[in-house]
């Protein structure tokens, strides 16, 4: 039976879906301290796409790769709970301040280090930046084709993948040779729940630096239970040009952030007659507000 080596790219993000009034700091940047850190929602959809491949091709492996502070190890555990086989935390002070270009460079260097893969899957975009750039940039840097806006994998064999893309105007079925990078929409199937046994197995899994930090009780057991050690890579573990990393490698400069409050500018009253509602509907469709 075919087996696939899958890499899922994931990001830990502040939960911007339930923002309170203190979500933004006075200077206009995100107040990460008050927002819970979560698994980027579309990356969870991406993980589910990977898990479904593994459901069909049992010997496939899923490696979760995330770049972020040490705390991002939390989402690797979340990935383990749901069925990922391996996880790598890419963390180093040198990565701090990366924009999408520097991030995709660092990720692509890490993937080169992993070397052997058939499919890379990631969410279309992260809810803290909404750029949708990292996935495509990683594909470009690795010199492999990409399929964006994936909703479902239609078929897969060792040579080729066929994907259903969800676009604004409808769906598109495309086929592509492997290796390939796929970005996944939130219209894809939601990720399966965490599994009780896997949770109990991996709940103490962490990185070496985190273990040293906490001097945890499970240090001793983690040397006998190797699954509790999560790989932690810094710049010394990947071949990279440090000039392309972090702030130095990030051409994006934030000049100013404005707080924008959406408000209605004008209002219009209509009667609840079919005719009036019909006119309103036509106006809304013509102005592309709905449709």
């Amino acid at each position: 039976m075919d087996a696939f080596k899958i890499i899922v790219l994931a990001k830990q993000v502040p939960d911007t879906r339930n923002v309170g009034k203190d979500a933004m700091k006075a200077d206009g940047t995100v107040n990460r301290a008050v927002l819970p850190a979560i698994f980027n929602p579309e990356d969870l959809h991406a993980l589910e796409v990977a898990l479904r491949i593994k459901d069909l091709f049992k010997d496939s492996t899923i490696t979760l790769l995330t770049m972020g502070p040490v705390r991002a190890v939390e989402i690797l555990r979340e990935g383990f709970y749901r069925g990922a086989d391996d996880g790598i935390l890419l963390t180093d002070r040198a990565f701090a301040g990366s924009d999408t270009l520097a991030t995709s460079y660092a990720l692509s260097c890490a993937i080169r280090e992993i070397r052997d893969f058939d499919i890379i899957i990631c969410g279309r975009q992260a809810i803290d930046g909404d750029t949708a750039q990292v996935g495509p940039q990683v594909a470009e840097k690795l010199g492999i084709p990409q399929i964006t806006y994936c909703e479902e994998i239609v078929s897969l064999n060792k040579k080729q993948v066929t994907v259903k893309r969800r676009l604004e105007q409808g769906v598109e079925i495309v086929a592509c040779n492997l290796p390939v990078l796929i970005t996944v929409n939130n219209s894809a199937a939601p990720c399966r729940p965490r599994n009780a046994k896997r949770l109990m197995k991996y709940k103490h899994a962490t990185t070496m630096s985190k273990q040293q930090e906490t001097g945890g009780d499970y240090l001793a057991s983690s040397s006998s239970h190797t699954h509790l050690n999560i790989k932690e890579w810094g710049i010394s573990n990947i071949k990279c040009d440090t000039a392309q990393l972090g702030l130095a490698g990030s051409p994006t400069k934030v000049k100013k952030v404005d707080n924008i409050v959406f408000q209605s500018k004008d209002s219009k009253r209509i009667e609840d007659l079919d005719e009036d509602i019909g006119i309103l509907m036509k106006e809304l469709i013509d102005s592309h507000i709905i449709g």
């Binding site: 399966r192 729940p193 599994n195 046994k197 896997r198 109990m200």
Partner: protein, 570 residues
């Protein structure tokens, strides 16, 4: 993200009861699995952390999947296709999520693929699932039957069937027949041993079987020819894959519509004997029923929780006469009473679960090593308590559940009568709790023993001597007074003949239940003072209810039997 475990602090409160230390060390046999299974706990704290985190998974699935599916499942229901049950679409999604989350076989041993959780967290999951969808709670909760296989089947059967339960096969408890409902001694479905095929074959009809189309069933059948009573019955494990079964019809029910209730026809259906012949009813069904009753207590509490929450949120939002209706005494009085009944029910549920936990763990340990004298006594005393509290709990919490659902719908007014709000479904779902797994009337029969032997009274006297915080003494005084009143009523009834005892049994059992629940909530107040308001409300209810029952009994004598009978005669 919504979560039915984390949004309800009462659950964590009960999960963290001091008795858990003993419960967990017994269940884990002093953490002996830790080197064999990578998901087994290292110590008590680790086990408790796992319980809480796994319940969080259950809470998330309940809030995000099962509860949102409840309306469509109730509407669509299961269907019958070519003699097989097809679940509603939502039910399939629920099962898929539950299986992927590994929430089947929660209490089964790890070596068969289970989580080896103690009863308390398992019951808590049942509480949460029932709040989300009481009908689905049945399909999920029938994994209970696996407990009976684990307790009494042989090793090969355990290996074969328990593994399948842990990976998602659903079960059924196939007992009832058209002429054998409450009276299971009358079961006629025939089992005979086919000498050629060297296999037991089942022939006959079963009715009202919840999830009768499940993959694995425990079937009560008459294995002994020319017998008429319970001693001729044995228990069989039936594997649906072996064929010989047709589902003749699905009942169209008032509530729990997502759970298929089947009429089954067995025709030379091959089955395996479970345990010893002739012990089907007297031993195995009793064990099945005890855990099933515990399941219904959990279901009653879960439905009560859902009903209370619906009423609370509606009463806050609904504006009449210029203010939210929750501000009117007529409404907040009802809500407070509902909450008090819910809280007391839940305390009784987890107290009973703890008793079952300890004695069952000790019983399992006794199969592996001989118990010390203290352990044997411990097992006996907890088993006695479990046997006392289970019928009491089933009777009281299921009746409370119906009352709470009734009041919740009432608070919704006309809207509650429409299909637009969940309470309409919850109200219908609540109705079965006081009927199945033994009606309230039959629970009272079982609980009456606790009245006549003085066991409930002794328990109340024990509670009188538990050290409590001085500021809560006044509550205990109320309970002591209620106990005296109960003692008086009991004495008046128990000296008379058996019919007179049965005539007043429900009143006495209710009185005992109210006092015991009062004490349990008083104990809750010791651990968390925030429960004092609920205790006050509950005591107001309990005291007046007991007064009513005491008055009835106080003005009653043997002549009543004739008068009541005469009154209904033609």
């Amino acid at each position: 993200m919504a979560n039915f475990f984390t949004d309800n602090p009462d659950l964590k409160f009960h999960l963290n009861h001091p008795l858990m230390q003993r419960i967990v060390e017994l269940k884990e046999d002093f953490y002996k699995d830790k080197n064999e299974f990578d998901f087994a706990p290292q110590d008590f704290e680790d086990a408790m952390d796992s319980y809480a985190q796994v319940l969080e998974i259950a809470g998330e699935i309940c809030a995000d999947i099962i509860s949102p599916n409840a309306e469509s499942v109730d509407h669509d229901g299961p269907t019958l296709k070519d003699g097989k049950v097809e679940y509603a679409k939502g039910t399939k999604e629920n099962i898929d999520a539950i299986v992927k989350a590994g929430l089947m076989g929660i209490s089964l041993p790890r070596k068969y693929g289970g989580l080896n959780f103690s009863i308390v967290p398992y019951v808590m999951a049942a509480d949460i699932v029932s709040r989300a969808d009481a009908g689905f709670a049945n399909i999920w909760g029938l994994q209970d039957c696996a407990e009976t296989i684990n307790d009494y089947a042989d090793e090969a059967q355990k290996e074969k069937y328990l593994r399948r339960v842990c990976t998602g096969d659903t079960m059924a408890m196939t007992l009832t027949e058209p002429d054998a409902g409450s009276d299971l001694q009358a079961v006629m479905l025939k089992a005979h041993f086919d000498e050629d095929r060297k296999v037991w074959l089942l022939n006959g009809v079963k009715r009202f079987i919840t999830n009768g189309g499940g993959e694995i069933s425990l079937v009560l059948a008459r294995s002994e020819e020319k017998t008429q009573d319970g001693r001729g019955l044995s228990m069989f494990i039936f594997d649906r894959n072996d064929g010989g079964i047709t589902i003749r019809r699905l009942e169209n029910k008032l509530g729990i519509k997502g759970s298929p209730t089947c009429e089954l026809v067995f025709k030379d259906a091959p089955a395996e004997l479970c345990g010893q012949r002739k012990f089907g009813l007297i031993k195995y069904v009793m064990s099945l029923m005890n855990s099933a009753r515990m399941g219904i207590i959990a279901q009653s509490v879960g439905i009560s929780e859902a009903a209370y929450r619906e009423a609370f949120s509606y009463a806050q939002k609904r504006i009449q006469f210029g203010k939210p209706i929750i501000e009117f005494p007529a409404i907040y009085e009802m809500l407070a009473m509902m909450k008090a009944k819910l809280t007391a029910s839940r305390s009784l549920l987890y107290e009973t679960a703890r008793y079952v936990d300890i004695y069952k763990s000790l019983a399992h340990l006794s199969n592996e090593r001989s118990l010390s004298k203290e352990e044997k006594e411990e097992m006996k005393s907890y088993q006695k308590l479990a046997d006392m509290y289970t019928p009491l709990g089933k009777a009281i919490t299921s009746e409370f559940c119906n009352e709470i659902a009734y009041d919740s719908l009432q608070i919704h007014g006309g809207s509650g009568f429409m299909k637009d709000y969940p309470i309409e479904r919850i109200y219908r779902d609540a109705r079965i709790t006081s009927i199945y797994e033994g009606t309230t009337q039959l629970q009272v029969v079982a609980a009456t023993r606790g009245v006549t032997t003085g066991a409930y009274l002794n328990r109340m006297k024990e509670y009188e001597n538990v050290p409590i915080k001085p500021e809560t003494e006044s509550y205990r005084n109320i309970l002591v007074h209620m106990t005296e009143q109960y003692e008086e009523a009991e004495a008046r009834v128990v000296v008379q003949n058996a019919e007179f005892i049965d005539f007043h049994a429900r009143r006495l059992v209710e009185m005992a239940g109210n006092i015991i629940m009062g004490y349990l909530v008083l104990m809750d107040v010791q651990r968390n003072h925030d429960y004092w308001k609920t205790l006050e409300v509950f005591l107001k209810f309990a005291r007046s209810k007991n007064m009513q029952n005491a008055t009835f009994i106080g003005y009653s004598n043997l002549n009543d039997l004739g008068k009541f009978k005469y009154n209904i005669a033609k």
